[in-house]
Symmetry: C2
């Protein structure tokens, strides 16, 4: 039970800065990033060191007190919001915000869990390096949260998700023991891979306290290209052509249905389409020219060759002529979610299927959804090369925000989308995780083998269920 005596016991471990009970200081951390999930908690614990985190978990383990690990509170699925019953304490990692070291020889940074992503970006740049993962919440999201959710973004095509950038990990397990796996071993076959198990575990198996992360060379020149195409199949053909021609320097490749782009042009001031000819689908391509001599010319020559060869349904293309144009191209892509919110209620699905299956899925599911849910529109945009797009189903035109459309239709439409994903071997969560939001659907749609394995792992690590309760795994005891 959480009472004053318990909070005093935590206070003895953490000092006066380590236990926050002031309501005004707690309130912002009780609601998730998108304002959909609301919880209660009597206090935030804020340890400053790994040893302090371990002491918190030992005491919590002994007293069976539930803990909700929290970084920047930017989860898209309610993964860091405490339960509504107020029976869990928030465990904030934000005071653990040191970059312990940066090695420009080894191209690695050792970061504590509370380091904010943009802080790492700046520190890497100051050292002449780059941390190649970014996302909209970069000014708030922390390394611990990014590791625990295996975050993605627009650079996954080349550099992988967070999983691919974590070379070592330090974590405190639910009994308070410290797992020291920070040493960046490129080969290590000492049994089950605990690093990969903790990445993406959403704080349900323990608390990530630090990570050794990969840095890469800075980009000293880039080509940013907007290409209008006939359909997502053409987009995929274009991507593969570029990868054959340029290899791994294709840094990003985004695809967008024309209506997504149209909403940006309608709702975001100062935006315009980079190409002159209308197209039903668009792609935004970024190529790292740093290693090429006269790279911009090489890209333009390659595009000219491809257009001359034909075979890919390209409608029109524009190469950004300067940084301002490149930024303007990317602004179109990055404003889609904001534009759709300005338009009206939208259900957003973060989904993946095998890359080969994605073009057909994007067109077929949109057509089927709008047929099934009259008045809606549906389309998608995102990371085609990762087999991951954000699929949106929008309320009928004129539906007001707060009209209850999402509450009335969300569950049915989610089941519709998710059933079709499962039929194609896809995932109901590509990069956002499960958290609270997708937990019931994970339970409904997982095979018995998968569900039993997930539950077995959870129970093995956290038999009392004190780590981030109510997240990720629907336990058997919940029926």
């Amino acid at each position: 039970m959480i009472d004053t005596a318990l909070l005093e016991a935590f206070g003895k471990l953490l000092g006066p800065k380590g236990v926050i009970t002031d309501r005004d200081s707690i309130t912002p951390w009780l609601t998730d990033w998108r304002g959909r999930f609301h919880g209660q908690s009597p206090a935030i614990l804020a340890p400053a060191t790994t040893a302090e985190v371990a002491s918190v978990l030992r005491l919590a383990h002994e007293r069976r007190i539930a803990l909700v690990p929290q970084g920047g509170n930017t989860s898209m699925v309610g993964g860091a919001t405490p339960p509504a019953d107020g029976n869990a304490l928030i465990l904030s990692l934000r005071r653990m915000n040191r970059i312990r070291s940066i090695s420009t020889d080894a191209n690695q940074a050792v970061c504590e869990a509370g380091v904010i992503l943009s802080t790492l970006h700046d520190a890497a740049a100051a050292a002449g390096r780059r941390f190649p993962l970014s996302l909209a919440a970069r000014g708030s999201a922390t390394i611990g949260g990014l590791v625990s959710t295996n975050a993605g973004g627009t650079q996954v095509l080349r550099h992988g998700t967070m999983r691919g950038l974590v070379e070592g990990i330090e974590a405190v397990l639910p009994d308070g023991s410290i797992f020291d796996g920070l040493a960046p071993l490129k080969k290590d076959n000492r049994g089950y891979d605990l690093r990969h198990l903790l990445i993406g575990a959403e704080g349900t198996l323990g608390v990530v306290t630090a990570a050794t992360l990969t840095l890469v060379p800075p980009i000293t020149g880039r080509a940013t290209v907007w290409v209008g195409v006939g359909g997502p199949q053409d987009a995929l053909a274009l991507l593969r052509w570029l990868q054959r021609r340029f290899g791994s320097i294709v840094e990003g490749f985004e695809v967008m249905a024309d209506d997504c782009v149209g909403h940006v042009l309608d709702h975001i001031p100062g935006t315009r389409l980079p190409i002159a000819t209308p197209a039903p689908w668009h792609t935004l391509i970024e190529i790292d020219l740093s290693a090429l001599d006269d790279g911009q010319a090489a890209v333009e020559a390659a595009l000219a060759t491809m257009l001359a060869e034909g075979g890919i349904g390209i409608i029109d293309a524009a190469v950004a002529q300067n940084e301002n144009q490149a930024e303007a191209f990317w602004r179109l892509r990055e404003s889609i979610s904001e534009a759709e919110r300005a338009r009206g209620p939208t259900l957003q699905f973060d989904i993946s299927v095998p890359v080969d299956a994605m073009p057909d899925f994007m067109t077929a599911i949109a057509a089927e959804a709008t047929g099934r849910f009259p008045g809606t529109t549906a389309s998608s945009f995102g990371h085609l090369g990762d087999g991951n797009v954000h699929f949106h189903v929008r309320a009928p035109a004129g539906t007001a925000d707060g009209s209850g459309w999402i509450a009335a239709n969300g569950e049915e439409i989610a089941r519709f989308v998710n059933d079709r994903l499962v039929a194609r071997g896809g995932s109901i969560s590509a990069e956002h995780g499960i958290g609270q939001m997708k937990r019931a659907e994970l339970g409904r749609l997982s095979s018995p083998a998968r569900l039993a394995a997930l539950r077995a792992i959870k129970t093995a690590f956290d038999p009392d269920g004190i780590m981030n309760p109510g997240k990720l795994i629907p336990l058997a005891s919940e029926g």
Copy 2:
């Protein structure tokens, strides 16, 4: 208990080809690849399909019968050899030898567990692609075993270990349920990563029955270069210079102490050193020229630039002028183990430390070992860019094979080496796994947090301990 009735029950599930009880047919599979471990088993079960594997595991689960999964029986650590008590059945995956599909668009192959590595090499080549993992046992090792041991090799620098090449996995869990994770999802955040958990699990959590594997473009031209250097620190500086200059096309980078090479020159007929000047250390470099115009000239120009710039302790260099020379260079590297066996008894350690720490480790540990164990010689060779070398301690000159030197000294020298690895955050098994051979040392040297986590996972998946008993995890019940 394994009796005739039980074998008949398996026979009903698998048909006459599926249960092998003939002693002559069983005997070769009771001893490991290097002849160090010997077991007993009354029968080999040989299912031909995933459904048959599932039926075997269901019955074994029901009757509490232990199973030892086996592919090509090429484990370097006794990982596929049954226990000596004869109370386990061998579960051979060799009849599951279909390549289910190859996609040249997606660059993927779906292989069953029993596909032999060289068969996949050939099939990929026939499709105009390449499977970029190879090792000495390629004519026997199977995909299931390679996945289950997270195999390495000389191409890890560019392409990663098996873990990096597995995009999807199918496995039968210990209760007989089928985990279908074959769909190659580049992003999938549906909870704990079961694929990564099964990779490298040595068959102790279930049986890998198939995998979706990454293919890459073929190599149409390569530069193979031998460079003599002053020490491993120079070798690492050379590697990093090449990676800055050539990026990811540096396909392989091997380092060898001069005495390792000397044993090859002494014991393997027809070998000669590629460079004219003696050197205390050697490197063997392979660069994929496929994407470069006039790549050989580019490599030679780069080497000339580097020599002119100075700063790296290069003593002499030779670029292979044709395929025969390239093969001869590689033969020197690949003959080291054979040459050392011809010389006399040798203890071999497959170890890793962070890449940055490896040069110092290579020189310091060899000096310390020869001081501590008078008469021995010690040195290392291997994959410097992976932070993984094979460290050898050799019996005093003139020690005969079979003299008992290894039995008398093996444990003490292993403890000496492994203690020093742990002090540097290294791994006692870089690419060969734990199996039977390193199990006691894993127990002795793991932190309480790691050991508890490994045991918890094993118990959660396989509470009856029927999957590959006596391998990988020293259980708490063993004291």
